[in-house]
Each structure stands twice: as structure tokens, then as C-alpha cells.
């Protein structure tokens, strides 16, 4: 039976494309803040009128 390893590998590969600037970003002075609760995101969106960028991903 295949293991779940390919999913993990896929995660790394997929993230690589979006994190090309990760090395530089680690020195960022003012990074984007992420919330880790969907209800909290909805609450913030209601309060601010901003749209939500919702990311689902395997845990790093």
C-alpha cells in the first residue's frame, strides 16, 4: 500500500514555489501576520471589511 509520504513530499514541493523568497523573508522586519483560527478570521473580516485569504495546508 502506498504510504502518505507522497503527500508530504508534495507539500514540500508545492510550498517551494510559493516560498522562493523564504530565506530573504526570514529577515523581514514587518511580516504579514496570519491567524490560525477560521472563526477569528471571519470576525476580523467582519470588523475590518477586508476579504479573507484562507490557506489550507499540511502542518509543516
Amino acid at each position: 500500500m502506498p504510504s502518505t509520504l507522497p503527500v508530504s513530499v508534495a507539500a514540500v514541493v508545492a510550498l517551494a514555489g510559493l516560498a522562493l523568497s523564504h530565506a530573504a523573508d526570514t529577515d523581514a522586519l514587518d511580516p504579514i501576520e496570519w491567524v490560525h483560527s477560521y472563526p477569528e478570521a471571519l470576525e476580523q473580516a467582519r470588523a475590518t471589511g477586508l476579504p479573507i485569504l484562507l490557506e489550507f495546508r499540511c502542518a509543516p
Partner: protein, 347 residues
């Protein structure tokens, strides 16, 4: 991903509430439906849970074939434009009924109730298993998720979103040209590759054609693409096979010459065994060997869809089924019993 607010991407993301979710527990999976074998997937929506667009998707070659920073930023820009336009436009589909991981009994029993991380792929794994147990699983859809648009001859300029880089085959025959920007699939507006792949996946597997609308020179043109035979069929070797039953072997279809040589029907699914899982012996599932030619299953040698014996069994039999294979080994006919199995999804 750490992104500085002063960068171009950071300036776009600063106009969003950014939320990162790593466990699906408590998430409305009815609303946030996607092919769970994407390891990363984005939605852009508003506080009323009106989904503007998706960003994600992949093909068999790579998890990042359709993901890059330029297309991500393009999606962010489009999301802001759609949000600014308000929700006056009707949603692309009625809001689906709410569903949570706990609502899938097997997932709840094996993962949620045990306090384990509700990983995305487990949702489909257990949902499929539950449907299969009740005889309601549409295997063609569930095994072959996210059909590859390259089979239509559609090659995208990924960094430019849905702009066509090259059109071949069905796409070219329909009149699609390089530089066209895909804007609709049927009646559904699509803004990203994630949108296109998600809605394309919803096309019934017996469909003969689809309509794509493209923007060319500032005007919309709707094209009808004739779907090739088995258009939904793609290389799924990269994904966890989450559809029962297990057959404990792999085979490749015989060539026409090989079928002639053995006097087998050209339209049949006769195939040669290329791999035998170790579990076959451990579970006493069968005694097939690499090189065996499987000619029929319970006397059946042809199928509308399957072109190999292992696929025929997966498509037409359920977990626990007992079948008899008509086999040629070293030129001698013999019958081999096979019992299919059920996946455990244990780590």
C-alpha cells in the same frame, strides 16, 4: 511563508485577513470543498463566506506545476477586485450544505474522536470508504479526481493565470488560440487555474463536450471542446489510492500484437502483471506472479472503461470480493483465486 508587508506581495496580502489552517477539524468541508490531495490550497472569500476564487491545483507531474508567485499575486489582485465590486454578482453555485469532519462516521471514529489531526486527504479517504461500503461510490470520479486539462490540448502560461500558452488537439480544434484568456467554463466564471480545475472536475464523466469562454482582443468567445475518449483519465500514481478495493497487484494492458499472439479480444482488458504487492502473500490474497497474463475475471474479459485487469477489479468489485482470474503463466492456462482487501489509512 513569511512575507514582508513592504514587498509587492506583502502589500497585496496586507489588504486581506490572512488565515492559515493546518487541521480540518471544525472546518465546514461542505463549503471548502477541494481535491484533498492538494497539499496547499487557498480560498479568497468575504465575511459572509462568499467565495470569490480558489488558488491551488496540480497535475501528476508536480504539486507546483500550476503554482508560482506571479500567479499567486495575480489571484490576490483579482480577489481584491472582486471584493471591491461587492457581492452583487450572484454566487457561482448555490452555497453547499454544511458538513464537518465529524459528520463522516468513519473519519469521526478513526480520527476526530481520537484527537488526531484531521489531515485534508483523510477526509476523502474515509468518505470514499464509507460510500464504498454503502455501494454509493462513483469510482470514476473518486479515483480520477482533477482531470488534466493538458489532455484537451490546453497548456497555460502559468504565471499569467488562465492565459493559454499553447492550444493543441481538442482545444485547437475548437478554435482556442495562444493568448486567449479562459474566463468561463460553461456558465461558471473561473478566475484561476484552481477554479478551472475544480469546476472541470465536476463535469460528468460521460460528458462528450464542454464549453469554454475565452477573452480575445477584448471580447468574449465561447468555444465547444469535444472531449477525447476517457478525457478524465490521468496518471494518478502520485496520489494515495483512496478508493477501495485493494487488489495487491499492478498490470499493464497487452498491446494489440500481444493480444493477437495469444488469441485474445482486442477490445479486452487482458494485461500482464508488472508488480505484486508483498501484502498479497501476507494476506493470502492471491498467488499471481510478475509476468502472468491475466485474461479474464470471472469469465469477463471486456469492459467499457477498464483496459487492465487490476483496474477492472477496482472499478467493478468491492472490498472483500472473491474473484477467479483466468491466467496464462509460461503459456499454460490456470485459474487463480483473488480476494480484494480494504484500506486501513493507518500511518
Amino acid at each position: 511563508m513569511l512575507t514582508d508587508k513592504s514587498t509587492a506581495r506583502g502589500k497585496l496580502m496586507s489588504q486581506y485577513v490572512c488565515a492559515r489552517i493546518t487541521s480540518m477539524k471544525g472546518i465546514n468541508i461542505g463549503l471548502f470543498e477541494f481535491d484533498r490531495h492538494n497539499a496547499i490550497y487557498f480560498f479568497v472569500l468575504n465575511a459572509d463566506e462568499h467565495i470569490y476564487l480558489r488558488y491551488g491545483g496540480r497535475d501528476a507531474a508536480s504539486a507546483s506545476s500550476y503554482l508560482d508567485l506571479a500567479s499567486f499575486e495575480l489571484a490576490l489582485e483579482t480577489g481584491l477586485e472582486l471584493h471591491a465590486a461587492g457581492t452583487a454578482a450572484p454566487p457561482r453555485a448555490p452555497k453547499p450544505a454544511a458538513e464537518y469532519p465529524r459528520d463522516i462516521a468513519l473519519l469521526n471514529e478513526n480520527v476526530v474522536a481520537r484527537g488526531r489531526c484531521v489531515e485534508c486527504h483523510l477526509i476523502d479517504d474515509f468518505r470514499n470508504q464509507e460510500l464504498e461500503q454503502h455501494g454509493h461510490l462513483d469510482k470514476l470520479r473518486s479515483m480520477y479526481r482533477s482531470p488534466d486539462i493538458k489532455r484537451l490540448g490546453l497548456l497555460l502560461d502559468v504565471s499569467r493565470g488562465l492565459v493559454v500558452r499553447k492550444a493543441k488537439d481538442a482545444a485547437a480544434a475548437a478554435g482556442i488560440e495562444a493568448g486567449d484568456k479562459i474566463t468561463r467554463l460553461g456558465e461558471t466564471a473561473v478566475h484561476t487555474f484552481g477554479d478551472l480545475q475544480f469546476y472541470y472536475d465536476r463535469t460528468p464523466r460521460d460528458a462528450r463536450s464542454i464549453e469554454l469562454t475565452v477573452e480575445r482582443d477584448g471580447s468574449d468567445r465561447t468555444m465547444t471542446l469535444e472531449l477525447p475518449q476517457q478525457w478524465w483519465r490521468t496518471d494518478i500514481s502520485y496520489r494515495y489510492w483512496s478508493v477501495d478495493p485493494l487488489v495487491y497487484f499492478e498490470s499493464r494492458p497487452l498491446t494489440v500484437d500481444e493480444k493477437h499472439q495469444h488469441g485474445l479480444p482486442i477490445a479486452g482488458f487482458a494485461s500482464v502483471v508488472t508488480k505484486v504487492d508483498l501484502a498479497a502473500a501476507l494476506r493470502g490474497a492471491h498467488t499471481l506472479a510478475v509476468g502472468d497474463i491475466t485474461r479474464a475475471v470471472d469469465g469477463v474479459d471486456t469492459d467499457d472503461v477498464a483496459d487492465s485487469t487490476d483496474l477492472f477489479i477496482k472499478l467493478r468489485h468491492r472490498a472483500g470480493a472473491k474473484v477467479t482470474l483466468d491466467v496464462l503463466r509460461d503459456g499454460e492456462p490456470l485459474e487463480i483465486a483473488l480476494q480484494t482487501g480494504r484500506q486501513s489509512f493507518r500511518k
